[in-house]
Amino acid sequence: MTDTSHGSTGDRRAFLRGAAGGTALGALGMMGAYSYSPLRHAHFAKDENEKADIGAVRSLKVTNISETSWFNNADLIGDIRGAGGLLVNQYRFNWPPFANKNGKLAEGSYADGIKHIKDDLPNNLERAWAFQMENAVHPENAGGYAALLEIELRDGSTKKILLDSGWSYDWIDKSFQREGIDKMLANGEIDALVISHEHFDHFWGFPVTMKYAPEIDVYVPEGFYEEGFQYVKDSGHRGALHVLKPGLTQMFDGVAIYNFAIPIITRVYGENSLYVNVEGKGLVSVTGCCHQGIIRFAETALQEIQMEKLYGIYGGLHISPFDDWDPKYDDLVFTLGDYGFEKIGANHCTGLLTVKKFVARGLPVVQGTARFGSKDPVYLGNGDQIGFGVDVALMSPASAHLSGSAGAPATGGDDGSVKGATY
């Protein structure tokens, strides 16, 4: 009897354990099945937030001062690899303009570098750069990114914004001179310098702008590191410094900056991008590198800003800056067309391969002239212009006469497709 009793108790226990285990597994299974079923979309009802009215402008013209941040991918990536990878602090590389006398890769620092050039900033940049040419790691590889935005407001006046100040003092100063930016800065024609992010190729040429306009209003994203703020001071800036918090900040009628709080390689954080709302056309996205991703940028605009539609793009989209690839980039190539952009002026860190894939997929890419260091006419090159709400010549007036041999936009293959792209 006792044995039987124990046996039935044991059976009941086993049954209960089995039932509990089975129920738990069944619940987990149901949860898993529901989690990826179409039913889950009911949880994502879009909140209709009140969208910001940033106003509108009549037109926007962008002149590409320089999209060539460096000249040799292998050298740049070789340095990054040698220094320990993409997470190494950019001020450690011993790249110009922060070379120390040691000149060894990955053994530099801001403090060690700036002491050699501080006295030369911003008025003796030639001497400061000469020191770099002697001591820095790959000083000849430095270029830089900068663009001029000319915005015609609805009242007929014009605002000019300089987006970024490049990297090499020598390269960016010559680029400024080529496009007449030096004179515009000196004459006070440029209203503001917007630094998109702290990266070497966008920010380290800061003293060149200070050389011509030390009192200019400067906008940087919150997320700048201590070295970056010190460099602004050490470069001789005497004007207002606006540190933008994450989110939308109106600049003036029709123009706003959005700071995306995002981590970026080589220990950089946060990126400013611009929204320009062109009357009768739609919203134009202007970016330095767009580390947040162009789709995120577009989705943010659709959720937060009043507009007719998404209209245009200018700038780097940071897809394959080193001619590298990852299959996830193909997701962008598949989907960018769904957003209805009518004019895409993507260059710089977008990467040649990405733009070739855009073109092969039929996206409205504005092609360029491949002058002044730009490698390929598949995208807008140095000295090229693009207009949104206004027709402009492909070559900037200031540079057109300098490029008699510059070719027209090439299309590559016999059928008009661009060679080297899959789609």
Partner: protein, 437 residues
């Protein structure tokens, strides 16, 4: 006729060793965890940290070595039962010497596998994407050639670190459980490696096939077959469920004590239910944790990057799971699989909830501090933010301590429980994660 005593290696060693604390709790626990944390940080600085010495956290090169070290440990202990090291040596050698010897052996095997088998053999004579030098010849920049090859090689390790222990835990080494070492080890190694190869070709090979221009459409399905369902062409979709499988294997083995599957009495039914049940639980976690991210951050948007990108969300499922594994192993290795009393259901439930809570705390701590002391990237979603590397690095160190060092210095093997060579080698019992007392 008297038979020759059978040579005994490490079969049953983990189950039979009686680990006793040298001091009352919580001194051994605190001592070991502080020492492990110190060892973790020192080795992280030497090998991985982008500010440190060798700076292997590129991230894929460091990740590849980290994953392969893990799977070699699993092979040595779970598949080969420490063969060719003898039981007597395991019992009598000082834990520090064992750690140095066994870890050195693992490193040598790892280098042979990576440099010899993948880069040298497969990379030179089968698929160029396993070999950095072959890709460099094709014009890929050195840095990316190394990263791409590391990605392909580490994915094999990811698959093996699910399948190899799953065969031991789920299939109970069947049908080779009665074979002696090294026959059993070699057989299971080959079988699981074969399965890993098939799954690699169906999951990561199409990912590698569209990594290069032109798409390798004649050699791999392009775009990959899963891209509409997963909302991405990226192989991270598979990384997600494979990582879930890897973690669930260890959960079943440690804090779940192989419940509920052990209740099934029929051998083959239990084995199949365990092996495929682990996969089913993992797939549920795979979808549920993706959904949880959608609820927390918003719906994923295909084509975008970072936090909202489907490919990153899938990857992050795997990352979340590995945060769960770490406290589960700590509970088993250093807290005697607490609680030991009560019904299995209540014990498992408590452990599961404690590990879950600890995982949430660990997750929060990691993303708020790791960029300060590990040199990783700030934020959640940057491609250079790879929490699987430090967590698996830590797991490797814990495995060295638990498997090779008998939890030294906080624990020791009770001398009275030491065994002598005997017939236990015949049993072929599957090893299990022995909780320290």
């Amino acid at each position: 006729m008297q038979s020759e005593p059978m040579e005994r290696y490490g079969e049953g060693y983990l189950e039979e060793r009686n680990l006793v604390q040298r001091w009352p709790s919580p001194i051994p626990q605190i001592l070991n965890l502080v020492l492990l944390a110190g060892l973790f940080y020192a080795t992280w600085w030497i090998f991985q940290d982008p500010r440190g010495w060798l700076r292997m956290y590129t991230p894929y090169v460091g990740y590849m070595y980290c994953r392969w070290l893990l799977i070699i440990f699993i092979w040595m202990v779970y598949i080969f039962n420490f063969w060719p090291f003898r039981r007597a040596w395991l019992e009598r050698t000082h834990p520090l010497i064992k750690a140095v010897v066994l870890t050195s052996v693992a490193v040598v095997i790892m280098v042979l596998v990576i440099k010899g088998f993948f880069e040298g053999l497969l990379g030179s004579y089968a698929m160029a994407y396993f070999s950095p030098s072959e890709m460099q010849k094709l014009g890929i920049t050195d840095f990316f050639a190394e990263e791409y090859a590391a990605l392909a090689i580490l994915m094999f390790a990811a698959l093996a670190s699910w399948l190899s222990p799953a065969w031991v835990v789920g299939m109970e080494n069947a049908p080779w459980q009665r074979e002696r070492q090294p026959v059993r080890g070699i057989t299971i190694l080959l079988v699981t490696f074969f399965l890993a190869t098939i799954i690699f070709f169906m999951t990561m090979h199409p990912h590698m096939g569209i990594l290069y221009e032109q798409w390798q459409s004649f050699a791999a399905i392009a775009p990959p077959w899963w891209h509409e369902f997963a909302d991405t062409v990226s192989g991270n979709f598979h990384v997600s469920w494979i990582m879930c499988c890897t973690v669930v294997v260890w959960l079943v083995e440690t804090i779940w004590e192989r419940y509920p599957f052990r209740l099934i009495r029929h051998d083959w039914l239990r084995r199949c239910a365990t092996f495929f049940g682990i996969i089913a639980i993992a797939v549920c976690c795979h979808f549920f944790l993706y959904f949880a991210q959608e609820l927390w951050w918003g719906e994923a948007v295909r084509g975008t990057r970072r936090l909202f990108a489907p490919d990153w969300r899938w990857l992050h499922v795997g990352e979340m799971m590995i945060f769960y594994l770490l406290p589960a192993l700590v509970i088993t290795f250093y807290f005697n699989n607490w609680p030991r009393k009560g019904s299995p259901t209540s014990r498992i439930l408590i452990r599961t909830l404690v590990a879950l809570l600890a995982a949430v705390v660990l997750y929060w701590l990691y993303y708020n501090t790791s960029h300060l002391f590990l040199g990783t990237q700030k934020g959640f979603s940057h491609p250079q933010q790879f929490p699987m590397i430090p967590t698996i690095w830590m797991i490797n160190i814990m495995l060295i301590n638990h498997w090779f060092m008998d939890n030294w210095p906080g624990w020791k093997i009770a001398p009275a429980t030491r065994t002598v060579p005997g017939d236990a080698a015949k049993t072929g019992a599957a090893p299990s994660m022995q909780a320290a007392e």
